[in-house]
Amino acid sequence: MEEETGNKVILHGTFMSPYSKRVELALKLKSIPYLFVQEDLHNKSQTLLQYNPVHKKVPVLVHKGKPISESLFIIEYIHETWRNGPQLLPQDPYKRSKVRFWASYIQLHLFDVVMKVVKTEGEEQEKAITEVKEKLSIVEKEGLKEIFSDTDGEPTVTNESMSLVDIVMCTLLSPYKAHEEVLGMKIVDPETLPGVYCWLNAINETDVVKDLTPPYEQVLEILRTFRQMSLSRS
C-alpha cells in the first residue's frame, strides 16, 4: 500500500467538469485513493493558480507535491506511475497510437461542438448538431475498427479494458439520454450510429462509470440548469 504523506494524491477539480471526471475515472479504475479539492472557477484558489500558472484551469493532479495539468496527460501519467490494475493505454505501440489519436480527435473535434449544441438554440444549434453528427460518423466509420481492432470493431468495454479513449468518450456523451430529453432531439441515433450507440452503452454499463454518475434525475436537472444559464447569458 502507498505510504500516507509522500505519495498523497490530490485532484483539484470541479464537480461539473468533464475533464475532472476523466481523471476521477482513471483514479478509480486504478483504485488510487485521492483527495478531491473542489475549486470555485470564479474564485480560483492560490494553490490552483500556482500549480497551473499557464492555463489556470482544472483539473490539476498533485502527486508527491508535484502538479500535472491537462486531463489526457494526467491519465498518461497515472498509467505510467501506477503499473498495477487496468492498463489505461494498450501495451502495443500501434494500438496505443490509435487510442491516442482517437482520444485527441474526440477532444479536439467533438467536445466544443457538443457543448455548443447544449448551450445554443436556433440556427447556431442546428449548425452544431450537423457538425456533431458528421464527426460522430467519422468515429463510427473509421474510429471503432481502429479502437476495437481486437474485436473487429465491436465495442467492448469493461472495468479491466477501459482505456483513455473510452474515458474521453464517456465524458463527452455518456449522458446522451439526458441530452436527448433536455434538447428534444436525438444526438446518438442507433440507426445511423449503431457502433457509437453500442460503445456508449457499453461504457455506461461499467461499474466505474455507474459509481461516478449521479442519479438520472440529477443529471437532467444539472443539464437543464446549465442550458438555461447559457441561453440567458447569450
Binding site: I68, F73, E76, Y77, R96, F101
Partner: protein
C-alpha cells in the same frame, strides 16, 4: 538489429514543420526510412487511404500500417525504437514535456499563424499575443541548453516550429516577432539547435524555405483580395 525487414515510409512535405519533426525523430534514432514527398494540392490515393480522417501529412507507414498526427507519430516512434529516447524517462517529466509540446502546437502555432494571415491592427495584436506565449517558453529556457534539458528532447523537436518556421517567417513578413532583446534565451537555444547535426540535416534549407514562405504569402494575399 531488426529481425525482419522493417519498412518505414513517411508521407510528408519538405516545408512542413510537422513533417520535418518526424524526420528529426527518425534520424535521431537511426531508423532508415523512405520519404515520399506529397503534393497537398493534389492528394495521392495513398495519402487519402492512410489518413482518411484528416487527409493530411505527415503520415508514418510502418510495415504498411499508418499512423497520423505528428505528436502521435513522435510518441509511436519513441515507443517502438527504444534507443536515443526522445521523451524523458520519468513520468512526471514526460507529463511536463507533453504539456509543452501541446502548448507549442495548440497555442503558439495557432496564434503565430495569425501574424502571417492578418494585416494592420489584427496583425499587431497577433504579434503581441505570440510574444506573450513565447515569454513562457523564454522562462523555461533559463539555465538550460535545450527545452529538454542538457540535450535535445521531445519539446525541442516540436518547438523547431518556432525556431525555423516562425522565426524565418519574420524575414518575409518584415516583423520581428521574436527580437533578441526580448528573447535572448530563445535565440541562444536556436544557436544550440543549429549545433546539433541531426537538426542541421533535417530542417529545410534556408534559402529555398524563405522563397517558399514568400510564395505562399503572396498566394494568401491574392486569395484575400
Amino acid at each position: 538489429m531488426a529481425e525482419r525487414s522493417e519498412e518505414v515510409k513517411l508521407l510528408g512535405m519538405w516545408a512542413s514543420p510537422f513533417s520535418r519533426r518526424v524526420e528529426i525523430a527518425l534520424t535521431l534514432k537511426g531508423v532508415p526510412y523512405e520519404f515520399s514527398e506529397q503534393d497537398i494540392t493534389n492528394k495521392s490515393p495513398l495519402l487519402l487511404q492512410s489518413n482518411p480522417v484528416h487527409k493530411m501529412i505527415p503520415v508514418l507507414l510502418h510495415n504498411g500500417k499508418p499512423i497520423s498526427e505528428s505528436l502521435v507519430i513522435l510518441e509511436y516512434i519513441d515507443d517502438t525504437w527504444k534507443n536515443n529516447p526522445i521523451l524523458p524517462q520519468d513520468p512526471y517529466d514526460r507529463a511536463i514535456a507533453r504539456f509543452w509540446a501541446r502548448f507549442v502546437d495548440e497555442q503558439v502555432y495557432v496564434t503565430a499563424m495569425k501574424v502571417v494571415g492578418k494585416v494592420g491592427v489584427e496583425r499587431d495584436a497577433a504579434v503581441e499575443a505570440t510574444r506573450d506565449l513565447l515569454k513562457l517558453m523564454e522562462k523555461e529556457l533559463v539555465g538550460k541548453d535545450f527545452l529538454g534539458g542538457e540535450s535535445l528532447g521531445f519539446v525541442d523537436i516540436v518547438a523547431t516550429l518556432v525556431a525555423f518556421w516562425l522565426m524565418r517567417t519574420e524575414e518575409v513578413v518584415g516583423v520581428k516577432v521574436v527580437p533578441v532583446e526580448m528573447f535572448p534565451e530563445i535565440h541562444r537555444w536556436v544557436k544550440n539547435l543549429l549545433d546539433v547535426d541531426v537538426i542541421k540535416k533535417c530542417i529545410p534549407p534556408e534559402d529555398e524555405h524563405l522563397d517558399y514562405i514568400r510564395a505562399r504569402m503572396e498566394s494568401l494575399k491574392l486569395k484575400s483580395v
